[in-house]
């Protein structure tokens, strides 16, 4: 299979994480004992990405884009279907669980749901102390307690609450517990899967600040996964946009927001409501039609083509390569046959219910409604 990423200058020596052609497919179970289904969920398809030491890479996308699965591929919580994951140059793609254990010290995860990512039947001190019991069993329980309490202080929790249960903490505090647990063994990489999405608005800023402080203090590298474009903009150095299992654009933060190349990126930005009434009135909203298609049967060619306002015949046939376009440097790559130029706007969508019914494709299939797969939308 031809790699989607173009050849690039010599690989970055500082890359802590290198993903090459990472693919993860889940078989669709039919539930019957011996029957195999031929259907497969294309959760992640041929993803190539570098994460430089010390930076924060934001990973954005909507449901079904594969970002959570990619997170689990990086941390090897799932087996890869194909591709390689290199941590500091070492290939961990095929390692067995036992061989992976030493790597667990170096990379950790923070999970989304503060209510289900902590075992409700265990005390908080025991939860945070788990990494020590697993990886450093020789430490005595007194010393372990000391370390746990130190960690609790570090993340802003009262160390005297060592014996409490998760139910006695608020959402924001529970997320801090999760952070403390991730930090216990002083990892180099932290993959945060929607760490603030489930928190109250007034608490989100606290946790974002905490993560930033910790990064500075401990020289951490973050992969920050979220669907919230404004949060990712705030925390990231570089941003990768995912759609239906593939990366469609990667750029430095400011570049991505000021000069998006991929129509999907532009549509995402336009769809996010801004907390500013005048700005909201002023903006032209590109409302993307249709629903996010199912990853079981992704569209041919460019997966975004059924919903893309700029789609043409080529888009349904040829898979675009992730590469710099329109004179950009290697720091800004996009997978699109007709990338947007600086300042180009997407055509405004007609109001729903009145227009082009065919544009709202039937959800769950890759094709557009009415059986047409690559007709350009009215305007442009």
């Amino acid at each position: 299979m031809v790699s989607r990423s173009s050849s690039r200058p010599s690989s970055q020596p500082d890359a802590l994480v290198r993903l090459e052609g990472v693919t993860k497919h889940f078989p669709v179970r039919t539930g019957r004992l011996l029957q195999r289904s031929s259907e497969v969920v294309h959760a992640v398809d041929d993803v190539t990405l570098d994460v430089v030491r010390g930076e924060t890479v934001g990973l954005v996308g909507e449901t079904g884009c594969g970002k959570s699965t990619l997170a689990r591929c990086i941390t090897r919580l799932v087996e890869l279907t194909s591709g390689t994951v290199l941590i500091d140059g070492e290939d961990i793609s095929r390692l067995s669980r036992r061989r992976l254990r030493p790597y667990r010290r170096r990379m950790q995860m923070i999970f989304q749901d503060p209510y289900s990512s902590l075992n409700p039947r265990r005390r908080v001190g025991s939860i945070i102390g788990d990494p020590f019991i697993i990886h450093e069993p020789k430490i005595g329980s007194d010393q372990r307690k000391e370390r746990v309490q130190h960690l609790m202080e570090l993340v802003g929790l009262n160390p005297e609450h060592y014996n409490r249960f998760p139910a006695e903490f608020s959402g924001g505090q529970r997320q801090r517990i999760g952070v403390a647990r991730a930090l216990a063994l002083q990892p180099e990489l932290i993959v945060a899967d929607e760490p603030v999405s489930a928190l109250d608005v007034s608490v989100r800023a606290q946790v974002i600040n905490l993560l930033a402080d910790l990064q500075e203090e401990f020289h951490l590298t973050y992969v920050f996964i979220t669907h919230d474009l404004s949060v990712v903009r705030h925390v990231s150095d570089r941003v990768a946009v995912m759609y239906l299992g593939q990366i469609v654009e990667v750029a430095e933060r400011d570049d991505l927001y000021n000069r998006p190349r991929h129509p999907y990126t532009k549509a995402l930005q336009s769809a996010i409501p801004v907390p500013d009434p005048d700005e909201a009135d002023r903006r032209t909203r590109t409302v993307l039609g249709g629903d996010v298609p199912s990853p079981v049967d992704p569209p041919s060619g460019c997966r975004f083509h059924p919903r893309c306002p700029k789609a043409q015949a080529r888009c349904a046939e040829e898979v675009p390569v992730l590469e710099p376009r329109l004179g950009d440097s290697f720091g800004h790559t996009v997978a699109c046959h007709f990338p947007l130029s600086d300042g180009e706007k997407l055509p405004e969508a007609p109001p729903p219910g009145v227009a082009d019914i065919a544009s709202l494709g039937r959800p769950g299939t890759g094709t557009r409604g009415g059986g047409q797969s690559a007709i350009p939308r009215g305007t442009s």
């Binding site: 909507e62 449901t63 608020s170 959402g171 924001g172 505090q173 109250d200 608005v201 007034s202 608490v203 989100r204 800023a205 606290q206 974002i208 600040n209 930033a212 669907h227 474009l229 404004s230 949060v231 903009r233 705030h234 925390v235 933060r253 400011d254 927001y257 549509a267 995402l268 336009s270 769809a271 996010i272 409501p273 801004v274 907390p275 500013d276 009434p277 005048d278 700005e279 909201a280 909203r285 409302v287 993307l288 039609g289 629903d291 996010v292 109001p351 729903p352 219910g353 019914i357 065919a358 709202l360 494709g361 039937r362 959800p363 769950g364 409604g369």
Partner: protein
């Protein structure tokens, strides 16, 4: 001049539980004009959902007091039969999770039809035609086919549209949307918001939009009410809330949102977390987290009073002219608070806002 569609006065809702009485709503009043959208903003525990659900009679086992006038009649004293007649016909509600209000075992078209026929004398073919028309109105493609589908055959966005169709079936005057898009993807959320706005323009329905998302509110609401711990903290027209907030909670919320131009900088955050509803703080519920607390705030709960335009109200003891969201305003607030003997609660100690006042003094 818009007329008042719904007027709620001094609503108090509490739930007795084995652990104590949960005071979910502690005396709020609001009104919705016809054809306008009222946004109710609050975090978890603010009481926003409970307040509105109680107004239309959807809560069980609660102790309720206050009045909720719709067309002059008090919803809170209506019998269940009367309420049933009101619900659907005058007031319709859509929820966060469409799967919870669409019965999974019945076809979508049938569910909407049944609802129509319960309220109106209309034969099946006519009802069916109306359902198809409604599904088309909310942007569901090929509605005459989708009518026969089950809810699980719809995607999330489609289900939410079907919910809206069901809500609109009887031409209600008021649509209550409780976190209608929280569970949806951003692009789908934009579609639904667009749809609701379009429907409001076309049909003139009023909307109560309950959410914690300040972005949606900026986009959709005409008037905004900010709730915290069962009370209203501030209410005003949308522009005033965003550009000249008076209440420190409102200002704090707005400041804590990541904003363009300030990437990578420390986000000013509100210290602490939302309080328990069994033992809410005395006086102003926000005082343990407020950087401008005065002794008065701990003991006396500030009433909602005018702080600017004719409809801008804020429940805060700070002087009414201190509206706005900027460092200078915060400094002045500190000064005002210090003058009244205010001190900085330990929760806020050391945080950027608390330090502002110190520099000045």
């Amino acid at each position: 001049m818009n007329d008042l569609l719904l007027e709620v006065e001094d609503l108090v809702v509490s739930f007795p539980t084995p652990d104590g009485v949960v005071e979910a709503v502690r005396g709020i009043s609001f009104a919705v004009d016809s054809g306008r959208t009222l946004g109710i903003v609050g975090e978890s525990g603010s009481g926003k959902s409970v307040a509105v659900q109680t107004t239309i009679g959807l809560t069980v086992g609660a102790r309720v007091s206050g009045r909720a006038l719709l067309d002059g009649k008090d919803l809170l004293t209506m019998s269940p039969a009367e309420l049933r007649a009101v619900r659907g016909a005058k007031i319709a509600m859509i929820f966060q999770d469409p799967m919870s209000s669409l019965h999974p075992y019945y076809r979508v078209g049938w569910q909407i039809m049944e609802m129509i026929r319960t309220h109106q004398e209309i034969d099946k073919p006519a009802a069916r035609a109306r359902v198809v028309e409604l599904l088309g109105l909310v942007g569901i493609p090929r509605p005459e086919e989708r009518v026969k589908d089950y809810p699980h055959q719809f995607s999330g966005g489609m289900r939410q549209r079907a919910m809206i169709a069901m809500a609109l079936a009887l031409n209600p005057a008021l649509l209550v949307a409780d976190e209608p898009t929280t569970a949806l993807d951003v692009t789908v959320q934009a579609q639904i918001m667009e749809l609701i706005r379009h429907l409001q323009d076309e049909l003139g329905i009023s909307v109560i939009l309950i959410t914690h998302d300040l972005g949606i509110i900026a986009d959709m609401a005409h008037e905004v009410m900010i709730m915290y711990a069962g009370r209203v903290m501030e209410s005003a027209c949308t522009r005033d809330i965003y550009y000249s907030p008076h209440h420190p909670y409102t200002a704090g919320l707005l400041n804590s949102l990541p904003q363009s131009g300030h990437e990578g900088q420390r986000l000013p955050s509100i210290a602490g977390q939302p309080p328990s509803l069994i033992n809410p703080p005395s006086g102003c519920p926000f005082h343990p987290r407020c950087a401008f607390t005065m002794p008065r705030c701990r003991t006396a709960s500030p009433p909602l009073r005018l702080v600017g335009t004719s409809i801008h109200r804020s429940a805060c003891w700070l002087p009414t002219e201190l509206t706005g969201s900027s460092v200078e305003t915060d400094v002045r607030r500190h000064a005002a608070s210090a003058a009244q003997g205010g001190s900085i609660p330990s929760a806020v100690e050391g945080s950027p806002i608390a330090n502002l006042g110190k520099d000045e003094a």
